[in-house]
Symmetry: C2
DNA sequence: ATCATTATATTTGTCCTACAAATAAATTTT
DNA sequence: AAAATTTATTTGTAGGACAAATATAATGAT
């Protein structure tokens, strides 16, 4: 546990941000937030390390405690710090995706962003084959098979069934961040496609690939076969953008 | 432009969060933040819409103005709102990746998160082939060729050269969010691999694929060939995890 | 001496008041 | 009607106060 309480004032006074005048000038809260993050980086803080208390930070940065609190509130939201009565602020393990999670509201996003999210899911689906084949276990395959067996009509797949099947694939990659990321993208993906689908002609795929097909290839096929099948499985989506 | 000022108090009082007692109980700031985001979603707010002023929100939510300000500060950081003197808060276009950007500090991330980030870049690299082939232009290819030509030794590629080449590929996908996301991942990817590389035996790839090879395939080859080549290009990284 | 219990000190969390700064809107002038 | 000026409104920042929740210190029991 480090106590790096002497660094803040230096950071704030030498902060390069003072020499830039961006389009919207920065509030004191913005400045304090930037200073604190820079301070964390330059001091090599690790989870568990203690920070100076709010009053001390306010004094060193020549701002009121309110401004410090507003900046700290932001960092708290990102999971970068935790507050302890008497002990003060402690560095914590950030949450990589909490920011994305909080802004993922289709009403607020631009058309460009919505399109980007839609495509991002497709990029990610096409990218996981190596991981699936390298990390699949007997148990994974059994569970995936059970999911597929519980899905009645392979041609008409509900959202829940999509989420169950693909969610299991994501889990099988052994990459929690990836799983969480894809899971975050799905509702918006669906929102985008629903909007598109309602406005366009129906796209027919000659030989659609089902969840069951994907399962079989994952069980006994090759990476390349799986990826090709995944592309066909997602063809209706690819056809809407490429 | 909508004025939805009657919804907030209802949201706060009926907020399901009041019935849950999570491990760490929520501060008022957390609650206000959650209420506001829910309010945005349920009211279907769009960029440009006006929000009630701080004082009014504080009254309706039965909290002090400071608490409202702390919550709003968070939303401001995410780009979801902008403040205007006299006019008040206005809904804005969120920034999908600003949260990720702010927490991407390897010292703070867990080993699991670092591994996830490392792999996520690989997943994404393997997933973009379809987009590259569908969207490449003559100009893109010329620019990519110039980048490759400026890179002297195909076997010893600097970080800057990596960023230049791969960054151009990302740009060619036509997906700005993807480009920005991958660009965010690169320093941490490098940090992870540098740590691994310094601790492990050197991995030799029998027939390494260079940037120039990738360029040629992208110009005149097929999606499958490109992806296979990309896998080989990244083989040293895949070998370190799979 | 060690462990458990209690008390105290410290910091955060929330509230309040005040006023400067930056517009957006209203009013006046041309 | 358009431009210039003034006013009103809201945000941004400051400072003070005190309750709540521990972390730390002190005390008591074994």
């Amino acid at each position: 546990m480090h106590d790096h309480c002497t660094g803040i004032a230096n950071i704030m006074t030498t902060n390069k941000l003072d020499t830039l005048e961006p389009l919207g000038s920065l509030s004191m809260t913005d400045r304090v937030e930037n200073s604190l993050r820079l301070y964390f980086t330059e001091s090599g803080f690790k989870p568990g390390d203690s920070l100076p208390n709010e009053q001390e930070m306010a004094q060193k940065l020549n701002v009121s405690r309110n401004v410090v609190r507003e900046a700290l509130s932001r960092l708290r939201m990102l999971g970068m710090i935790e507050a302890r009565p008497r002990r003060g602020m402690v560095i914590a393990q950030p949450d990589l995706l909490v920011g994305l999670e909080k802004v993922m509201n289709p009403s607020l996003l631009s058309q460009d962003n919505l399109k980007d999210v839609f495509e991002l899911r497709l990029i990610l689906e096409m990218g996981i084959a190596e991981f699936l084949f390298a990390r699949k276990t007997e148990q994974d395959l059994n569970e995936l098979e059970a999911i597929v067996a519980s899905q009645n009509d392979a041609r008409v797949v509900s959202k829940e069934e999509e989420i169950a099947f693909h969610g299991k694939l994501y889990e099988m990659t052994g990459n929690d961040t990836f799983k969480r990321f894809q899971t975050l993208l799905m509702p918006t993906f669906d929102h985008v496609f629903t909007g598109y689908y309602n406005q366009s002609k129906k796209i027919e795929i000659p030989n659609p690939v089902t969840h069951h097909d994907l399962f079989k290839i994952l069980k006994t096929g090759t990476v390349e076969e799986f990826r090709k099948a995944m592309y066909t499985h997602l063809a209706v989506y690819f056809a809407s953008i490429l």
